[in-house]
């Protein structure tokens, strides 16, 4: 195995590399604090906490059609980092990144379910990929500035939500450097069809935290294919509920009953209710009855059916319904 002399030297003394990384970190902090990026990081934090983009000038300016400041920002950033890396080629820019055959991503800012990131999609690799058969709507918003390259895209819209399927609209578009787009992920999804060369974009994205679902539909007939939790929090809570159930933690039953009755996805609420019923019959059955009796609750149907099933299996539960009245 060949190890270059520079790397060989670092094996006995890694101080120069530590020093380089600390310099890079300072450079990055300095850049975010510098004139061109003024306000971007702090306003990104406010965006991540839910503030509207229109209230955040330093950030919204990056995605202002016709007068975007994003290209200058990214030029300055890459210029600054590349100058350092030319002098210190073993330095690693301390930002999250991903590279594969199809492209790359570099995350400039991230917080909670939000990110400001540079994306590169490689045209030749895209050509080798099978054409997508489905579209995924992810609850959240995307603001995109095309920095370089051009692409043919399909903007797929969810025009009407029907039982078991959706009415989809598909509009072919061409995007090129300088274009700015904003999309509501619950109803719009951009699929990049082909790219000449490489497509470089700056994307600002924020995920909804309200229990909305990510849903996938077939592109040809709009058939509903599957759904997944739209935020990690929902899945985390569902796993926690299952774990408490397996651990037999009946002391958690009141908490699970509360989750089952609060604003959250139906899936999380139902799993919490099931685990609660398994842990503590009385607490769980009371919550089940409350949900079943609220006609406005989307879970009232399944809850009513389950209540009837349980009452048939365990007539003694009738006592709980009588106590509640």
């Amino acid at each position: 195995m060949h190890i270059s002399p520079e790397l060989q030297a670092l094996r006995s003394n890694d101080a120069p590399q530590r020093h380089t990384q600390s310099e890079l970190l300072d450079l990055l902090r300095g850049w975010f604090g510098g004139q061109i990026a003024t306000g971007v990081e702090s306003q990104f934090q406010r965006f991540a906490q839910g503030e509207a983009l229109t209230e955040l000038p330093a950030l919204s300016q990056l995605f202002a059609p016709g007068q975007s400041h994003g290209s200058a920002l990214v030029d300055d950033f890459t210029g600054c980092m590349l100058a350092f890396l030319r002098a210190q080629p073993l330095g690693m820019v301390p930002l999250r990144h991903r590279v594969d055959d199809f492209g790359a991503a570099l995350v400039l800012c991230r917080s909670g379910g939000s990110a400001l990131a540079l994306h590169v999609a490689e045209g030749p690799a895209l050509m080798r990929r099978p054409a997508p058969l489905s579209v995924t709507f992810t609850p959240g918003e995307t603001h995109e500035l095309v920095l370089a390259g051009a692409a043919k895209t399909s903007l797929v819209t969810l025009d009407q939500d029907l039982p078991g399927r959706a009415e989809l609209g598909i509009r072919q578009e061409c995007i090129a450097a300088g274009d700015v787009m904003s999309r509501d992920g619950a109803r719009e999804c951009q699929i990049v069809q082909s790219v000449s060369g490489a497509l470089v974009s700056l994307k600002l994205q924020r995920r909804n935290q309200d229990g909305a679902l990510t849903r996938e539909f077939a592109l040809d007939d709009g058939k509903f294919l599957r759904q997944a939790a739209g935020s990690p929090r929902e899945t985390r809570l569902e796993l926690a509920a299952a774990l408490l159930g397996r651990m037999g933690r009946s002391d958690a039953a009141p908490l699970l009953a509360a989750i089952a009755q609060e604003e959250a996805s139906q899936s999380l609420r139902w799993q919490a209710l099931r685990e609660c019923l398994g842990l503590e019959t009385s607490t769980g059955f009371s919550a089940l009855c409350t949900i079943a009796e609220d006609a406005a609750d989307p879970l009232s149907g399944p809850a009513g059916a389950l209540r009837a099933q349980l009452l048939e299996t365990y007539p003694v539960l009738q006592g709980i319904t009588e106590c509640r009245v």
Binding site: G103, A105, S201, A228
Partner: protein, 55 residues
């Protein structure tokens, strides 16, 4: 009031008609990074590089 209540068997409790999978589990074959609106989520991975002496 104290009632002698039955222990409910979890496996007897039905799931909802439409199941919801875990966050991040929808990933279709045609997807490539950056080519649709999926929000990027990058996990930090630390590679341990084992350098054997004498190579």
């Amino acid at each position: 009031m104290h009632m002698n209540l039955p222990k409910i068997d979890l496996s007897a409790l039905p799931d909802l008609d439409t199941l919801t999978s875990a966050f991040g589990s929808i990933m279709h074959t045609g997807r490539v990074g950056g080519s649709d609106d999926t929000i990027i989520e990058i996990m930090v991975v630390i590679y341990e590089i084992i350098i054997q002496s004498g190579t």
